[in-house]
Structure formats: C-alpha cells, structure tokens
C-alpha cells in the first residue's frame, strides 16, 4: 500500500461543474479516470480505489470482503477524523459490520417497511399541506429550500422519532457540520457531543416519565431498553443516525428535484395531471440526481477482485454511486433525464446490507411533496438564474443551499 505515488492521481471527491448541478462528474475529471476501477487521491493525503461501474458497485457493496468501519486505520477518509471515543460511535450502525450491524438494524426494519410507511402517509400529506399553506401566505419570491424542502422531512422524522421540532435550529446546525467534509475534527467532535447529549436527555426524560410514548424512541425504550436488549448509549447513536439521515437527504432531493422539474415543464404538468405516474418520476429523480455524490467508502478486509482489479486486504475502496447510476450498460441514454424509463436498478440508496433503511419513507415523502407542490403551485417558477444557485459542494449529501422561486 505504501508504494503508491499519489501526487499524479486525480483529486477526489469530484465536484459538479459550478453551473450544472445535474452533472455529477465534470468532463475533465472523467477523462482522468483511466479505468472503471482506478486510484484517486484523497484530500486527507492517501488514496482510494474508485469503483464506477454499476455491476462492480453492486458486487462490491454486497461482498463481505469490505468493512464500513471508519475507525479502522487506512479507511478512506474525506476529512481528518475527530478524536475517537468508544462512546461517540455507539449505536451508529451505518459504520458497523457483520452481526454487530445486523443486530441494531433489525430492531428498526419493521418501523420503516412499506406497509408501516403507508400508515403515516396521511401525516406526510398534512405536513406538506401545512408547509405549502405557510409558503403561500408568505412573501414572494420565497426560498423553497428553507420554506419547504427542509421543514417537510424534518417535521416528519421528528414526529416519527418523538423529537420536538421546536429544537430544529439546534440539530440542523450540528448535522450540517457532521455532513461538511471541510469541517475540522474538533468542530465535528463538538457537534457529535452536543447532539448525543441532547438526545440522551430526551431519551432519559421519556424513560423516567413512566409512559415513554408511542413514537419510535418511546417504543424502543419500552420494547428493547427495558427488556435489556439495548443499551441507552446505543439507542442514542441510533437516534442520531436516524435524525440526520432522515432529513438532510430527502431535503436535498426535494430541492434538486424541483429545480430539474421546472426545466421539464411537461413532466411537471404530468405530475399534476397524473399523480399515479409519480412513483416512476421519483425513481428516475433518485437515479439522475444521486445526491450521495461522494460515494460510499469501504476498506477491503481480505484480497478480492472487483472489475478485473485485484484489491488487497487493507486497501481503501469507494463505490461511486453517481457514475454507476449513469452506466450506459444498464441505462439507455444514461445522461438524459427520462422519467418514463425503467430506473428501478438505480443505486441511489446503496446496495448490500447497508442499503438505505429509510427508502420507503424517502420515496413516500418525495412523491407526496412533489405532487403536492405541483397541484398547489402549478405556476411555480424560478426567481434566480439557475447557474448562480448556491450548491452544497462540500456536503456528503449534495444539494442546493437555496432555491428562490415565485408563482
């Protein structure tokens, strides 16, 4: 591993061209990739293999030859790791492997399965309606990110978990730091500590209250903590993961989706006229936008072959979902946004044992938010030059920082 000369390797992560949020990797960077599995340089000094083909990404993410544990020496990091404490990592099963991961994930699978999400669709509908009513009552032009894209999924996840939405300023500011790959290690540590103690107090209040309540955290206290299956420190980490993953992702998808749909008025009109088509539109938005643009990092724990390359135990590997979702072998005219294609094979939610547990919720939120917006604000239009919109280039989850609109 030590003998790789990194200076000449292309620098990762790649950025979208400043004026084109829909191209995940610009032409100059693409031309520097000398194969479907190739080395790139990391901002923290080392390098990682970059896996870019759809089939190779699937094979890699399903293989048990890779670890997702960021604390392993040699793991591909986009920013310097904060000082590690065992307590700071507890419950964060997105970074665990094998049985340790499965044990915690399986405590949540039933919560997020399709039939349970269907039960909360009326709640999502109410949240969307409420946000649109507030938007219509406010000034024009309005920022659709702050006024709609962010509050909708935040209100929903707060309701599901049993976290007071009134505290959203506190946790949104800290989750932005956790997702910012330019944040310093101490800022990251403080954000984690702040969020963990906030959630710890919340869980403690529910625990001592005698009636923990019928939200997800309350149920986990009653069914798992009181039975001795789950420790409070683990529950705090699970809540932290759900709170962050549960609103930042969908929020960025809504913002980018609206920008794209405003450039495809026939699709926008069709969302209103035929909301039943919305599921197919949402799948193609997920493929085409692939907001987890910086890929999924892993480390090989034994020698393994991916895409004809031999990867050795200990080597860092990154699955680049955005390019896999533009693989011409799998998607015809892959660079085109075509909401009537078969997009179901996309990898926007990852693949393998860590594949997004919240995907039924994300799909429902996107469908209800976008059809609601198209129905209530049919004349929606951009109130800024699309080339000038501020992007979240440094965030692990790509999106627009603002989207000025009018109607």
């Amino acid at each position: 591993m030590g003998d790789v000369v990194t200076d000449r390797l292309p620098l990762f992560p790649f950025l979208s061209p400043g004026d084109d949020p829909f191209t995940p990797v610009g032409g100059a960077d693409l031309r520097r990739l000398d194969g479907p599995v190739t080395r790139v340089r990391l901002p923290t000094g080392g390098w990682t293999w970059l896996v870019t083909r759809h089939g190779d990404v699937k094979q890699m993410l399903r293989s048990d030859a890779f670890s997702a544990d960021m604390a392993r020496p040699g793991f591909p990091l986009l920013r310097q790791a904060p000082p590690q404490t065992p307590e700071g990592r507890r419950g964060g099963f997105i970074r665990m492997d094998g049985e340790e991961h499965l044990r915690l994930r399986r405590m949540l699978t039933a919560e997020f399965m399709i039939k349970n999400i269907r039960r909360i669709e009326p709640l999502i509908g109410d949240v969307v309606d409420g946000a649109l009513t507030a938007l219509q009552a406010g000034q024009r032009p309005a920022d659709l990110v702050a006024g709609f894209a962010l509050p909708v999924p935040s209100l929903v996840i707060c309701h599901l978990l049993g976290v007071p939405y009134a505290d959203h300023g506190f946790f949104q500011q800290r989750s932005a730091i956790l997702l910012d790959r330019t944040a310093g290690p101490l800022a990251v540590r403080d954000a984690v500590t702040g969020l963990r103690s906030y959630l710890g107090r919340l869980i403690e209040d529910k625990r001592v209250s005698g009636t923990p309540g019928d939200d997800l955290l309350g149920r986990l206290i009653t069914e798992r903590v009181r039975t001795g299956e789950l420790e409070v420190g683990e529950l705090i980490g699970m809540a932290l993961l759900l709170l962050i993953a549960g609103h930042e992702t969908t929020a960025n998808m809504i913002g980018l989706s609206v920008l794209l749909l405003l450039q495809h008025p026939q699709v926008w009109d069709r969302l209103r006229a035929e909301p039943a088509q919305a599921d197919a539109v949402v799948e193609e938005l997920l493929r085409y936008l692939t907001i987890v643009r910086q890929g999924l990092p892993r480390q090989a724990i034994r020698d393994v072959e991916v895409g004809g390359r031999r990867i050795r135990a200990g080597e860092p590997v990154t699955a680049l979902l955005s390019l896999a979702n533009r693989d011409a072998e799998v998607f015809d005219a892959a660079q085109e946004f075509d909401p009537y294609r078969e997009a179901h094979q996309h990898l926007a939610f990852g693949f393998g044992v860590h594949q997004c547990i919240g995907q039924p919720l994300a799909r429902a939120e996107l469908r209800i938010a976008l059809t609601g917006l198209a129905a209530r604000l049919p004349g929606l239009r951009l109130a800024a030059d699309p080339a000038d919109l501020p992007k979240r280039d440094n965030s692990i989850v790509y999106g627009l920082a603002e989207l000025p609109v009018t109607w």
Binding site: L102, R106, I357
Partner: protein, 64 residues
Amino acid sequence: MSGVTADRDVCVGAGMCVLTAPELFDQDDEGLVVLIDGKPDPDPALTQRAVLLCPSGALRVTGS
C-alpha cells in the same frame, strides 16, 4: 416450474422485494421477508427483478 426462496438469516429488511412484487413477498412483524403462500410464480419477470434488486442476496430462483 420455477419458484423463489427467501433466506431470512440474510435478509436486511430493505423491502425491495415487496416494492417490486407485492403479490409474492411480504415483511413480517420483524420486517423480514416472508413468501406469500399459494402464488405459483405470478409473474416470472417480476420475480426475477425482485431477486436482482434484493440488496442482501436473500432471494434465489429455484427450479427451472
């Protein structure tokens, strides 16, 4: 006659099978896959698609 098997020890409850072929797959109280009985492969193409999309490799087509 082709069919499908589901390995609950491998399943991670992502629900891709239920999304793809709801007449063939369900998830139980634990969120893990269960096969809906009495459906002799309603649509082989959808079954095949569910197998392809299952992220964990829990589903397999059996027979020929």
